[in-house]
């Protein structure tokens, strides 16, 4: 599988990372190097093998469905680049 510049641009878009057009050839080439390395996985016979979901055999714990935390508006907003009137502020989303 070889990655061309338009695929690299699409991946950057999906990852929400701005990549300048002149950087795309180098990016595509790096992707190809890394994916070339990953291709070896194709040699492994994985027929009938389950994909790993948990590295330690454990059942996730359950707890009573009740509120255990909250009322921390100040702490939640303390690190926001732009917080106003108790909310996170972002550029206009809906016209």
């Amino acid at each position: 599988m070889s990655i061309d510049e338009s695929t690299a641009a699409r991946v950057a878009k999906l990852a929400r990372i701005k990549v300048e057009p002149e950087q795309l050839p180098a990016l595509a080439s790096e992707f190809n190097t890394i994916l070339g390395f990953i291709e070896q996985l194709g040699e492994v016979d994985v027929d009938g093998v389950d994909p790993m979901t948990s590295v330690t055999p454990q059942r996730l714990k359950r707890r009573v469905d009740e509120v255990t935390d909250g009322n921390q508006q100040g702490a939640v907003l303390a690190n926001a680049p732009d917080a106003r009137e108790g909310f996170f502020a972002v550029p206009k989303v809906v016209e």
């Binding site: 929400r16 190097t33 070896q40 690190n79």
Partner: protein
């Protein structure tokens, strides 16, 4: 007492309890050492006021006869751990200015056990790297030196390794996703253990690849690793993968008696092009364990070769998902926007400015392997290979193997700037350590010798799940026979 910063945890603890020194004195010695070690760039956020206050409180506790395991012992904390009110940036520009409102469970456990925090330690950005060269703070430098080159302390816990090896602190926390505790420990002549996945809570540790990440101690001896690991471990309801198992007294398990233990030597770890010195050290390590009464057994871990490529699917996939949270909305950096920019431009510009090249590379690789049409071919296949890698280990443990001995790294520390021609070349640093994360097992790196240039080399022991105590004891026997006492000459 002089040179208090050179003590290990056990020695300092015993001296404190005997009244031979105070935490205030220990802490002052470390702060002085840190002030004189700017050239190593190990400590990147200094917290002398916090340390001094904690030392004073610790001295009061010791005086009152209430001295928990880490009481009064000054340590460094990797920048990946959220520490309340203290910068916690994961070595990234995108978390510039972030001051956590909470304390990570592991650092909280250490502070509760009386530890003194000297500051935050340099690391590769988001723990993605094997040389500490992807950090927003610049490179951390290895205190070991053989010529005029500055050497890498390894990564990602490079600042932790450098600080412990240079005696800037008694011990430090690290985290290990593919080898980030064990590889830098080997490069700097110190001890580092990654416990079984689930032993340490991941809560409050900035996430890289959640199914692989584990915290662990980086220390000057195996005994110190046992002491500090016990203090770090706990069951934590805030991390659903944290194990609800009792934490043993690891230090009490250090008898040095490994008679009759079966130590496996995996043929697949004999890599093409491996330096002869590493091979020799490995053989010597096996001889040492045999000398201690262990039985050395040749074993096979057939899927070893595929661990690293599978890792470079799974870790980036999880990273792309975890790092989606850095969007410029809730914390950290937000890009300056141009007239007319909307929320998508805000995300794209913020992430382009905030992430370094290696992080971007991995996030995008992860995005690709998870994208429609490639999910099965890459991500699901890698998870199936991971099942097989884990089964390799289960098979040898079922056959009676107690621990596995391997080299820790394929080389000694290399020069900063020497290995970046090709990202895959850099990834090969983790070839011996990454299998352990893939299988969720405990692994420890013990300094075992010097190469011909005079640089430290480590050996790795891999243990059965949840049997860190037994693993530490085997490491203790190895440490005693290796007799590694070399320290880097001070040039900084």
């Amino acid at each position: 007492m002089s040179d208090l910063n050179k003590l290990g945890l056990a020695e300092a603890r015993d001296a404190l309890r005997k009244g031979d020194t105070t935490s205030a004195e220990l802490t002052a010695a470390c702060l002085t050492a840190i002030d004189g070690a700017g050239a190593l760039n190990a400590f990147v956020h200094h917290t002398p006021e916090i340390a001094t206050a904690q030392a004073k409180a610790a001295d009061a506790r010791i005086k009152a006869g209430d001295a928990p395991a880490m009481c009064g012992l000054p340590i460094g904390i990797k920048d990946l751990f959220c520490t309340k009110g203290v910068p916690s940036q994961a070595g990234s520009r995108i978390l510039e200015g972030f001051l956590p409102e909470y304390e990570s469970t592991v650092s909280g456990n250490l502070l509760e056990a009386g530890a003194v925090m000297l500051g935050k330690l340099n690391m590769d950005e988001f723990a993605m790297g094997s040389s500490n060269e992807t950090s927003v703070y610049g490179n951390a430098v290895n205190p070991w030196k053989v010529d005029d080159r500055a050497l890498t302390p390894g990564g990602s816990s490079g600042g932790s390794a450098s600080a412990v090896a240079a005696d800037l602190c008694l011990a430090a926390t690290g985290t290990d996703t593919g080898g980030s505790i064990r590889q830098p420990a080997a490069f700097t002549g110190i001890t580092g253990i990654k416990p079984t996945y689930g032993r340490c809570s991941r809560w409050g540790i900035v996430a890289f690849a959640s199914s692989l990440d584990q915290a662990g101690p980086m220390t000057k001896s195996v005994r110190d690793a046992a002491i500090m690991l016990e203090a770090m471990c706990s069951h934590d309801p805030k991390d659903s993968t944290s194990a609800d198992l009792p934490v043993p007294n690891f230090e009490a398990m250090l008898t040095g008696d490994i008679k009759g233990k079966k130590i496996g030597i995996p043929a697949e770890y004999r890599m093409d092009g491996m330096p002869g010195e590493i091979e020799t050290l490995w053989t010597r390590g096996a001889d040492m364990l045999r000398d201690a009464g262990a039985e050395i057994v040749d074993i096979a871990l057939p899927h070893t070769k595929y661990a690293l490529p599978a890792y470079y699917v799974i870790a980036p996939a999880e990273a792309s998902s975890n790092l989606a949270r850095y969007d410029g909305v809730r914390y950290g950096h937000r890009a300056k926007l141009d007239q007319g920019d909307g929320i998508t431009e805000m995300y794209e510009k913020t992430r382009a400015e905030g992430f370094g090249d290696e992080v971007k590379r991995r996030v995008m690789i992860g995005t690709y392997v998870l994208s429609a049409g490639f999910y099965d071919a890459y991500y699901n296949r890698a998870r199936k290979v991971r099942t097989l890698i884990k089964k390799d280990f289960e098979d040898v443990f079922a056959a009676g193997i107690d621990a596995i001995l391997t080299p820790a790294t394929p080389s000694a520390a290399f020069g900063l700037g020497e290995a970046w021609d090709d990202p895959v070349q850099m990834y090969l640093n983790d070839v011996f350590t990454v299998t352990v994360n893939m299988a969720g097992l405990p692994g420890i790196s013990v300094p075992a010798g010097l190469d011909a240039q005079g640089l430290p080399l480590g050996l790795q022991l891999i243990g059965r799940p949840w049997e860190e105590g037994d693993l530490l004891n085997t490491a203790y026997a190895l440490e005693a026979r290796a007799g590694f006492v070399a320290k880097p000459g001070k040039w900084w």
